[in-house]
Symmetry: C2
Subunit: 293 residues, 2 copies
């Protein structure tokens, strides 16, 4: 069993991006600039955005943080999106989700210029991904592809089972793994809460990507010998052991599943660290206008 070390891969990627930014700087080019919009004071969102801003600094990007209180109106937020769309210095930006209930997340997402949509949530980017055209891939799927690539995991012709059909992980992951490319070229099965035959599907899988958000859902008797298991789950479970009072728990019962695997991602330290670095890479691509002119 080999552990897929997302922390090490993301650190390596961070180094690579920082080097490229240093070269751009040296050549007198434009420093990539990521803006983040944060509404309210949700603990999780605060942590994510702070981490994104910090990573920008570490790789040498310019970053901006725009804050609104919980009671911001949809109109104000749309006006902010419009300003960022039209700000030539901003290469890419994100609006941290979730948003307060009185604001339509979909409306905000669709208002973002898809050429600056480094989160990859705009329908144009989702559609282009599905068709197989260059686009901004959303962070978690992009991070998983990168892990498969860096560990040179064979995918062609393999059976990949995706557990979960969310718009941000399950569906894009399925589309990507069936594309005629590497990683990809898999037979892909998507299972979810309504699936009658989930266990037998998993037992048949060469690669299992679990994104259900159900702690320790995947057990040893659902996994065949030699499988590759990618755990996207990150549920905060109360813990008396950690200082914070909780611990991140994946969707895989790691202790019993890992001995059967050829490769497995731990939680934490697997897929998690890949998401922010994938956002950084999208920002770099946006800055270099590699995907859209």
């Amino acid at each position: 069993m080999q552990l897929i070390d997302g922390k090490a891969v993301s650190a390596q990627m961070k180094k690579e991006i920082a080097e490229e930014v240093a070269q751009i700087k040296k050549a007198g080019g434009k420093i990539p600039h990521l803006a983040a919009v944060l509404v309210g004071h949700d603990g999780g969102s605060e942590t994510y955005v702070a981490s994104k801003v910090r990573t920008c600094e570490e790789v040498g990007f310019k970053s901006s943080l725009i804050r609104y209180e919980e009671d911001v109106t949809e109109e104000e937020l749309l006006a902010c999106v419009d300003r960022l769309n039209n700000d030539p210095d901003v290469d890419g930006f994100i609006v941290q989700l979730p948003l307060p209930k009185h604001i339509s997340e979909q409306k905000i997402i669709e208002a973002i210029d898809y050429r600056k949509d480094v989160d990859g949530f705009h329908p144009i980017n989702v559609g282009r991904m599905s068709i197989g055209l260059p686009c901004f891939l959303s962070a978690t799927p992009a991070g998983i592809l990168e892990l498969l690539k860096r560990y040179e995991i064979e995918t062609k012709g393999k059976h990949c089972v995706v557990l979960g059909r969310s718009n941000i992980v399950g569906k894009p992951m399925a589309m990507l793994m069936m594309q005629k490319s590497y990683p990809g070229d898999c037979t892909v099965t998507v299972c979810h809460s309504r699936s009658e035959n989930l266990k037998e599907m998993c037992l048949n899988a060469d690669i299992i990507i679990v994104a259900l958000g159900v702690p320790e859902f995947l057990k040893a008797d659902m996994v065949k010998e030699g499988a590759v298991v990618i755990d996207v789950g990150t549920t905060r479970m109360p813990s008396s052991v950690t200082k914070s009072g909780f611990k991140l728990t994946g969707d895989v019962r790691f202790d019993e599943v890992s001995p059967k695997c050829s490769y497995i991602t731990p939680v934490p330290g697997g897929v998690g660290p890949m998401t922010i670095i994938s956002l950084m890479r999208n920002t770099l691509l946006a800055g270099k206008k590699e995907i859209y002119k």
Copy 2:
């Protein structure tokens, strides 16, 4: 075994659409207007477009046919798309594919205003479909959904195997069958030319949608008793029996597979007749501004 009669369903839908158009007319509303752009004189394209124009007449739509010779430039075609985008009388339009090699199909598709993209090929419509938002569904997937619906075929929790991963059938079909809706809510597997375990997947399937374009690919020993089989294949095979000198052949060996099925679509007369009528429905929706304002 029950035959799924696409010809009868499409005739019924044609009647329904014609009635709705008659009511719109009576109420003094705007008659839906479909424009079709045809480049060159390819036999298949000529037939399809003629059939689309004829069906427009039958349901009471206004239709326009814009023809270009094979040597039209990309710029001229883009200018035509631009005119149609800006023509307030045109509710929806299609550019018949394939286009000559010197013209980028993708560029033309992306130039079409997605609110008039009744073929559903624009990345925005593809992305919105994937996310589960209202959109123009492309004709073949929409036609298959309609057949499943009108025959009240159970899909929830079933295992649906899609053979083929094309952008116009396989991928959208997979996305639609996994959505939390009816028809849908299936466990979905997508197999293709690289799949190592295609036969066992098919044997496990409750619903098989075959869109490989390989005549008589699906055989009796690949189908379990009671399966639903949807045949999207339409290959022209030479024939000494028919007047035209060819016959349409599906991707299913119908004679041996059909006795095992609970439901099956024939070729011709199954999925085929559903495609044009699905385009008509999209045009009606465009005319009524039901999807986009």
